[in-house]
């Protein structure tokens, strides 16, 4: 009996109402202002059924934005110049029946009546400082990379073990690349 449970639990996507989630960076660009490159990006977050259920059950989800500045080199592999992580915690507050988004870097908190608006809020990134222009050597070509992912490290232990296998918990966007221009 135990074994059957285990097998059932391990089988992915077996349930009919399972909806796959998707993270996707739709656009990203940077602008130079006051000697700092600021990021402007649009990310589409679509949670999987599993993640959605967990969120509604009160499990906080951590969504991370991973950014990188890369210097191009001819005939050689590219070099990472800087890496930046921006974390958000998304949770459901049962009492107020609202979704809360907390910026883990600044501690800023926003509440939303719907998950859609919360995700929409998360997907609009603007004026996020990426790198000081002084750190970029002139004459080189620099690219920015960004991706969004659902962190598995902060979900509760028992879920982690399962998240290891389950597709519904593996939510990761592709890397999106843009060129950092010195203007």
């Amino acid at each position: 009996m135990g074994l059957t449970t285990l097998l059932l639990a391990l089988s992915t996507g077996a349930l009919a109402q399972d909806r796959p989630g998707r993270f996707e960076v739709r656009s990203a660009s940077s602008t130079l202002r006051d000697g700092v490159h600021f990021l402007e990006a649009r990310v589409e977050y679509r949670l999987s059924s599993e993640a959605r259920q967990a969120l509604d059950a009160g499990v906080p989800l951590t969504i991370e934005l991973e950014m990188m500045v890369i210097r191009h080199r001819r005939f050689w592999p590219d070099v990472e110049v800087a890496t930046l992580r921006q974390g958000y915690r998304l949770e459901y507050h049962a009492l107020s029946q609202r979704y809360i988004v907390i910026n883990l870097n600044s501690g800023e908190q926003s509440t939303f009546a719907t998950l859609f608006s919360a995700l929409n809020f998360l997907g609009r990134i603007s004026d996020l400082p990426v790198i000081d222009a002084a750190l970029l050597e002139p004459g080189n070509r620099y690219d920015g990379r960004i991706r969004a992912l659902l962190s598995k490290e902060d979900i509760p232990g028992p879920l982690q073990l399962i998240a290891f296998w389950r597709k519904g918990w593996t939510l990761e966007s592709e890397w999106f690349r843009w060129r950092i221009v010195d203007k």
């Binding site: 009996m1 135990g2 074994l3 449970t5 285990l6 639990a9 391990l10 259920q53 967990a54 059950a57 009160g58 499990v59 507050h93 049962a94 009492l95 107020s96 029946q97 609202r98 809360i100 908190q109 926003s110 509440t111 939303f112 009546a113 719907t114 608006s117 490290e153 902060d154 509760p156 232990g157 028992p158 879920l159 982690q160 073990l161 399962i162 290891f164």
Partner: protein, 746 residues
């Protein structure tokens, strides 16, 4: 260089250490895994590593078990000793460990599932849900109140002019008990604001959803959690427009929630949240517990299987060694020693085995030694038998030859040593001496006399042989006889010697006792003759003359005879020197060439004959006697002939010089040929009868032998064999000393 045993020990130590470290690591990983299931963020990060360690452990164990299994199957097919026992033990141990493990596992899974399910209670869930609803209702009342208050402000704010808006808003805020009261224009532009907190320069901007809702014409009210058990209620309404086409304005109020109420509500929320999360994680918990448990089970199973192999190997290896040792012993290798495994029963067994092989080896060695002793004794016996002048023949009960020595062959005229295993009856065919010997022996055996002793005389071509024969029965198995041993001595020569000695004594006595009275008899007869014969006075003178003449003549003859006897008995000291026999024979033969009678004397001398150590005087006498004997035998023969030949016989061994003298006379009479060398044995009219006897005596003084026979083409033939050197002097010395003894006694 490190000794082999030390190196093996070090290797084993390293192996054990690695195994132990691996086991500890694995155990730690498993513990961590179980911790992961308990919602611990720190361990969560290690999860991949933990799983990797577990997977590696399982993989290593599978490899070990696979290797062991392959080896076991290979051994089983090759029927390596101990493999069957090992297979049985492994099967048994695995079965013994797997069954309880699986049982425990099934029960544990059951308990975990039931246990986790039992945490969740419908009543608790409902209670929490109700509590949350209650809190929500309580807060909802406040929200409605605040909204109503905000709506009530609509009229007042509408009436105000833009200039009065800011101070009036402060008044309104204080009246309504709001924390913050703001009026926004189009695009959320701040038209006026009043805050409880004077430092807050910028008001809380309305959110998009608020604006969206207001645009739909619905007032906005929401409870917003602030964290740390604090809430605020945000209300917003569209302010009625004073004139058509005027800018739409929004009044937003932010109200605090009663501290106690918010604290309680937050606690309810926290409990509800925790419960909901747990309920949600129920399946995940079950899964992870089951997974962990399954991993532990897998590990335990694999360990048990590996342990089964390990234990079986440990237990079987001394037995395998025992089997190998037993096989080695069965093949005759008694030096097998097994290493001591431990101080247990198997150790005792191995000890006993080692003890046994040690004793076996000792016994084997002793058996070999005694066998070697028997062999050497047998070899000694064979040497003794070979050197023995006595003939020894051992026969089986069916009269086949078991052993026979050279002397037996020499005496019986057949080489029996080459005929071992053959029937004596078959061998005896056409062998006259052996036939006679067999006939006598068989006669005794047929009469049932198994033990007998008899002097037997065998007649052969060469002459008669006198054997002293004794037979005895060999002990056999049970009542049957194990065969016979016949021992016999050729006593022909002994008897001859006795006869010679007797004759020598007779001759000496005769010479002494008879010769002495002869001289007075002769003198007396001569005196009688002198006194009576010349006168012629008496008529009987003629008679006296005849009588005395006869006496004197006969005495003379007797003197000659006695002289010859004394000659036979007398023997001067032997004087050995190197003599060329061929030359000596030529010299002696030359003396007989000028005889008046026509005589053909042929010499056939072997030039290879070496110089011989003999007494030249005696040898010359031997030759004279032989030739004279031949001449006497040739009287009356029409064409007398004497052949003298020499030959170097058996030059490889002790050299022997042979002299053969043959004549074409009448030969020996058949009945005397065997006693030809006895004194007074003669077939001739003339002669003393001592010639050949003296020859024989002289030859024997030189350690030689003499034989007489009739030649096939007629006539007598005498052959002498003399040792070339050495023995002559020894034999002569013995004879001389014997003679001196005799003289002293006389």
């Amino acid at each position: 260089m490190v000794p082999m045993a030390d190196r093996r020990q070090v290797k084993r130590l390293i192996y054990t250490a690695v195994m132990l470290a691996g086991a500890v690591l694995w155990l730690a990983a498993l513990l961590l895994l179980s911790q992961t299931a308990q919602n611990s963020a720190d361990f969560a990060r290690l999860q991949s590593a933990i799983l990797a360690v577990n997977a590696a452990g399982v993989f290593v164990l599978l490899l070990l078990i696979g290797g062991n299994l392959v080896r076991l199957i290979r051994d089983y097919r090759r029927q390596v000793p101990g493999s069957r026992l090992k297979a049985r033990m492994v099967t048994m141990l695995v079965a013994l460990s797997v069954l309880p493990l699986v049982l425990v596992y099934l029960f544990a899974v059951q308990f975990i599932n039931r246990g986790i399910d039992s945490w969740f209670n419908v009543d608790v869930e409902q209670g929490l849900s109700n509590a949350l609803s209650l809190s929500q209702t309580a807060l909802a009342i406040q929200m409605r109140e605040h909204l109503e208050r905000t709506q009530a402000m609509n009229e007042q704010v509408n009436r105000l002019r833009a200039v009065d808006l800011i101070p009036a808003l402060g008044e309104l805020r204080r009246e309504s008990g709001a924390r913050e009261l703001s009026v926004f224009g189009a695009n959320s532009q701040i038209l006026a604001t009043s805050s409880e907190n004077p430092t807050a320069a910028v008001p809380d901007y309305p959110s998009e959803e608020l604006i969206f809702q207001l645009r739909q014409g619905r007032p906005f009210v929401a409870l917003e959690p602030l964290g740390r058990a604090q809430f605020q209620i945000r209300t917003a309404i569209n302010l009625a427009s004073r004139s058509p086409g005027a800018e739409p304005r929004v009044l937003q109020g932010i109200f605090g929630v009663d501290q106690q109420l918010s604290g309680l509500a937050e606690r309810v929320q926290a409990s509800y949240n925790q419960y909901a999360e747990l309920a949600f994680l129920r399946n995940a918990l079950k899964t992870s517990f089951t997974l962990t448990l399954s991993l532990v089970l897998l590990l335990a199973l694999l360990l048990a299987v590996y342990g089964a192999f390990f234990t079986a190997r440990r237990l079987v290896s001394p037995i395998q060694q025992l089997v190998a040792g037993t096989r080695a012993v069965a093949k005759g290798d008694f030096d097998t020693r097994l290493p001591m495994p431990a101080r247990d029963e198997i150790g005792f067994l191995v000890n006993s085995f080692n003890d046994m092989t040690k004793r076996l080896a000792k016994a084997h060695q002793e058996a070999r030694r005694s066998q070697a002793q028997v062999e050497s004794e047998r070899a000694n016996l064979a040497v003794i038998l070979a050197r023995l002048s006595t003939g020894v023949v051992a026969l089986e009960s069916d009269l086949s030859i078991r052993t026979a020595n050279q002397a037996a062959g020499a005496i019986l005229g057949v080489d029996l040593t080459n005929q071992v295993g053959e029937s004596l009856v078959a061998v005896a065919r056409d062998k006259p001496l052996l036939e006679q010997f067999l006939a006598i022996s068989q006669g005794h055996l047929e009469r049932g006399e198994s033990e007998w002793r008899e002097q037997i005389v065998l007649r052969g071509e060469v002459g008669r042989r006198v054997l002293m024969c004794a037979c005895t029965v060999l002990p056999g198995e049970g009542d049957e006889t194990g065969g016979y041993v016949v021992v016999f001595d050729d006593i022909t020569a002994l008897l001859q010697a006795q006869r010679d000695a007797a004759w020598g004594e007779v001759a000496r006595r005769l010479a002494h006792e008879i010769k002495n009275p002869l001289t007075p008899i002769q003198l007396s007869a001569e005196r009688l003759r002198r006194k009576f014969v010349p006168s012629g006075e008496h008529a009987d003178d003629a008679l006296v003359d005849r009588a005395t003449h006869t006496i004197i003549q006969q005495v003379e003859a007797m003197k000659d005879m006695v002289n010859a006897f004394s000659e036979y008995a007398r023997a001067p000291d032997i004087q050995i020197s190197s003599v060329d026999l061929n030359q000596l024979i030529s010299e002696v033969a030359e003396l007989y060439r000028h005889q008046q009678r026509p005589l053909s004397l042929n010499l056939s001398l072997d030039s290879a004959l070496p110089v011989v150590q003999v007494d030249v005087g005696r040898m010359r006498q031997v030759l004279h006697n032989l030739i004279r004997n031949a001449l006497e035998a040739l009287e009356g023969v029409s064409e007398p002939r004497i052949d003298i030949a020499t030959r170097y016989a058996s030059p490889n061994e002790d050299g022997l010089a042979e002299i053969r003298v043959a004549d074409n006379g009448p030969g020996f009479q058949a009945e005397i040929v065997e006693q030809a060398f006895d004194p007074y044995v003669t077939s001739k009219a003339k002669g003393t009868g001592l010639g050949l006897a003296i020859v024989k005596k002289l030859v024997e003084e030189h350690g030689g032998t003499i034989q007489a026979r009739n030649a096939e083409r007629g006539g007598a033939e005498i052959s002498i064999l003399l040792p070339v050197e050495g023995r002559a002097s020894a034999t002569a010395t013995i004879i001389q000393s014997a003679r001196e003894n005799r003289r002293e006694r006389a």
